[in-house]
């Protein structure tokens, strides 16, 4: 079923895009991440111009996070204080991100920078998660009680001035920590078209040491607002948001997210986390290989 995308200026097979959304949605429902880190590269591989891919997949992440936020709200799983600070940081970060995006675009290094950031980030997060979940699984197999997760924030976070109490997260830390975290993720949201859940969730667990029951809800809360904002930024600056593409992705991903969430309820979380770690490492590895391999296209064309 061919459909013409009015902003990307090309025709695509609508079913392929919906299936892509469904696949990403399944993963996001299972692992509680937005899935933008997969949508953007997959769309680029399909042949969608990179700017349109990044701009349009942000709105898919918004859609995927909405139902999650509602579900977590009912369970009191959102720390509004923490989330609000992260959103504030995210708005500023996306402004800075848009500025960096323009500079990199002008010098032609945007693709390389995106790929390098992906490799570093996915490598770090993937290996951290894999190590933790393997330790956990091994301990559980050995019959020993699973090691109690030390809920401690990183020394860097403890060094920040001005502390305040976050009741739902069970933390007494500087508000600068969530602000900076939100800021960094905001930059990445614009640059990579990702929601940042795959960075935010581990960062909240391993850097801030937040109570796990509010981590996913708060991350989704931040993702919802920052991706919605990123869509606005792209719509007004790059004008590359393809609404037809976004709707196709949404149809697939919201359906997939619900199926994925049901599936996740039946699997042990540590295995789920290990699977996500493997997936993250594979994507990172694929991009790393792509950087060193001789590319198919030595030349690239852009309108000027």
């Amino acid at each position: 079923m061919d459909l013409y995308l009015p902003i990307a200026n090309m025709s695509v097979n609508a079913l392929v895009i919906v299936a892509l959304g469904l696949f990403v949605g399944l993963l996001s429902g299972m692992f509680g991440v937005g899935g933008g880190f997969l949508t953007t590269p997959l769309l680029i591989i399909y042949g969608i111009p990179p700017t349109v891919a990044a701009a349009s997949s942000a709105s898919q992440v918004t859609g995927a996070s909405v139902s999650g936020v509602f579900a977590h709200l009912q369970r009191r799983g959102v720390d509004f204080q923490m989330g609000g600070l992260m959103v504030a940081g995210g708005f500023v970060g996306s402004g800075v991100g848009a500025w960096i995006f323009r500079i990199l675009q002008r010098t032609g290094q945007i693709d390389t920078v995106i790929a390098v950031i992906y490799v570093l980030m996915l490598g770090w997060i993937g290996s951290t998660m894999a190590r933790e979940s393997i330790q956990y699984i091994l301990a559980a197999r050995g019959g020993a009680p699973p090691p109690a997760r030390k809920r401690r924030h990183h020394p860097l976070v403890a060094a920040l001035p001005l502390r305040m109490r976050f009741y739902r997260s069970g933390l007494y830390v500087s508000p600068l920590a969530p602000l900076l975290l939100g800021f960094g993720v905001g930059i990445l949201t614009i640059l990579l078209g990702v929601g940042g859940g795959f960075i935010l969730v581990p960062a909240m667990i391993y850097l801030l040491g937040m109570a796990t029951q509010v981590v996913v809800g708060t991350s989704l809360f931040q993702t919802l607002f920052v991706t919605a904002w990123a869509t606005m930024v792209h719509a007004t600056t790059t004008k590359a948001v393809d609404i037809v593409l976004a709707v196709l992705l949404l149809i697939g991903s919201v359906t997939g997210a619900q199926l994925g969430a049901r599936f996740a309820a039946r699997v042990k979380p540590e295995y789920l986390r290990l699977a996500l770690a493997v997936l993250v490492l594979l994507v990172g590895l694929r991009i790393a290989i792509g950087l060193g391999w001789r590319p198919d296209e030595i030349y690239s064309v852009e309108l000027s």
Binding site: D2, L3, Y4, P6, I7, N9, M10, S11, S59, Q60, T62, G63, A64, S65, V66, S67, G68, F70, A71, G108, Q109, D111, T112, V116, A228, T231, M232, H234, A235, T236, K239, V241, I243, V244, A246, V247, L250, I251, V254, T255, A257, Q258, A261, L291, G292, W293, R294, P295, E297, I298, Y299, S300, V301, E302, L303, S304
Partner: protein
């Protein structure tokens, strides 16, 4: 450029004249657009209605060009183990689409000089770079650009794709892929005999978005804030309703 000089019905009837037509003067891009097949056809009118009696072959070459674009071509190089964009070259006016069909391979039809003048063939495109790079670098970039565009179907040449019946009627088919930009396309038809261009005729084809596609593209440009809000609202609505349905089922 100099094409109309050669055409001209008012000239003394010593040279043949081309009467071209095209199956579609206007191509509308709608939701189901996957590209278009243009049929370019017409007649060759010889003075006095007599076909020339020598046995030199008559050839027809049709060139369809898309609107020109100002583009920046970048070249990747391996630096410190990874492939990054290194050098670049800007072109002020490169055709966004170039399709050439001919009745025989172009190098058998005309010589290199004529090809360069009329831009007949992918190796004869006059891609004027905006900066004065050394010749070998210009050639390298031009080859890279043409190769890239050819693989995406935006540049191509097809020999033996023009049919000439009884020496007077010709027909050619040119495929316009879905990726072309909107704007005015030109189809130039060349009548060539004995390595000389005897007649040239030009037809314009307008490609534009219609209906919903036109509306979307225009809203994205002109009312970008409203467009962004609609995109956000749609994603919230989709996400929320999926969650709502899933809770009921």
């Amino acid at each position: 450029m100099s094409a109309p000089l050669l055409l001209g019905q008012s000239k003394p009837a010593s040279k043949p004249v081309l009467v071209p037509d095209v199956s579609q003067r206007q191509i509308e891009i709608a939701y189901s657009f996957t590209g278009a097949d243009l049929l370019l056809f017409g007649a060759i009118l010889y003075p006095g209605g007599r076909l020339p009696d020598d046995d030199a072959p008559t050839d027809i070459v049709v060139v369809v060009k898309g609107p020109t674009q100002s583009i920046l071509v970048r070249e990747k190089e391996k630096i410190a183990g990874i492939w990054v964009n290194a050098s670049r070259l800007r072109y002020r006016s490169a055709p966004s689409f170039y399709g050439m069909v001919s009745s025989r391979p172009i190098n058998q039809v005309v010589d290199g000089r004529t090809r360069a003048i009329y831009e007949l063939g992918l190796d004869s495109l006059q891609l004027s770079p905006a900066s004065s790079a050394p010749q070998d670098e210009q050639d390298r970039f031009a080859r890279g650009l043409v190769d890239l565009k050819r693989r995406s179907g935006l540049y191509y040449e097809q020999p033996n794709a023009v049919e000439i019946s009884d020496g007077v009627l010709y027909r050619a088919r040119v495929n316009i892929p879905a990726r072309v930009p909107v704007g005015r396309f030109t189809a130039e038809t060349f009548l060539i005999r004995d390595r000389h261009i005897l007649a040239v005729a030009t037809k314009d084809i307008d490609i534009r978005k219609s209906g919903f596609e036109r509306f979307v593209a225009r809203s994205a440009q002109r009312s970008s804030i409203a467009y962004g809000l609609v995109a956000v609202a749609l994603s919230v609505l989709f996400g929320w309703s999926a969650g709502y349905i899933a809770r009921r089922v």
